[in-house]
């Protein structure tokens, strides 16, 4: 049972464009939603995260939009750059889960120069 569904599986964007990755969840106990970025040969690294008490969080070119009623959240990368080319994972963490992060299946983003 996949608790966090992520789409698309892969995404190709031109430099300067907007990259959008979507995630959906079912478990209403989830109360923390991070995005991790992974470059080839490296471990995932926290990029940005949001809690369900806000609908949007922005850090530089990266924005998370959160829709609690729809149980969906998305990552927007503005002015996408070739250096943003990586695999992006959404994740969710439930209250009382002992930090059991549940990851989406990942999106391979390629930004063409």
């Amino acid at each position: 049972q996949q608790q966090v569904k992520q789409s698309p599986q892969s995404l190709i964007v031109q430099k300067g464009g907007i990259s959008i990755i979507n995630c959906a969840y079912e478990n209403t106990a989830f109360d923390y939603f991070p995005w991790y970025q992974q470059f080839p040969g490296k471990g995932p690294a926290l990029l940005i995260a949001i809690r369900p008490d806000v609908s949007e969080k922005k850090e530089g070119r990266f924005t998370i939009s959160f829709n609690k009623s729809a149980k969906q959240f998305s990552l927007h990368i503005m002015d996408s750059q070739p250096g943003d080319s990586a695999t992006y994972f959404c994740a969710a963490l439930a209250r009382g889960s002992n930090y059991k992060l549940t990851f989406g299946k990942g999106t391979l983003l390629t930004v063409n120069p």
Partner: protein, 113 residues
């Protein structure tokens, strides 16, 4: 200064062998994890330790045995290796079970032939 370091980075071994992967973190964190990333890049938690105590054991075959000699180290020993064990194994750490940022090591690519 590497925050979470794993050794070895690559491990090629034959079926039936026993192998260990070592992990050390110098962040002063008290919680450590092992994650498995399969060939499709899906990340799944295997174990977590808090202050050397096993907290999460995600229905992993008992051929996998984590050992935490102290808060800074979490090793993974695998007995009787099988072809299906081939994957990238990531160690991670965080401060506390409810802390929301996990720091990942660079991964160990295990190939069983």
């Amino acid at each position: 200064d590497t925050a979470v370091s794993q050794t070895p980075k690559y491990l090629v071994t034959q079926m039936g062998n026993d192998k260990s992967i070592k992990c050390e973190q110098n962040l002063g964190h008290d919680t450590m994890y092992w994650y498995k990333q399969d060939s499709k890049k899906f990340l799944k938690i295997m174990f977590s330790y808090n202050n050397k105590e096993l907290i999460i054991n995600e229905t992993v075959p008992n051929r996998f045995s984590p050992k935490s000699p102290d808060k800074a180290h979490l090793n993974l020993h695998i007995n009787s290796l099988e072809l299906g064990d081939s994957a990238v194994y990531f160690c991670a750490s965080s401060q506390g079970l409810m802390n929301t940022e996990a720091f990942f090591g660079q991964g160990t690519r295990l190939t069983v032939v």
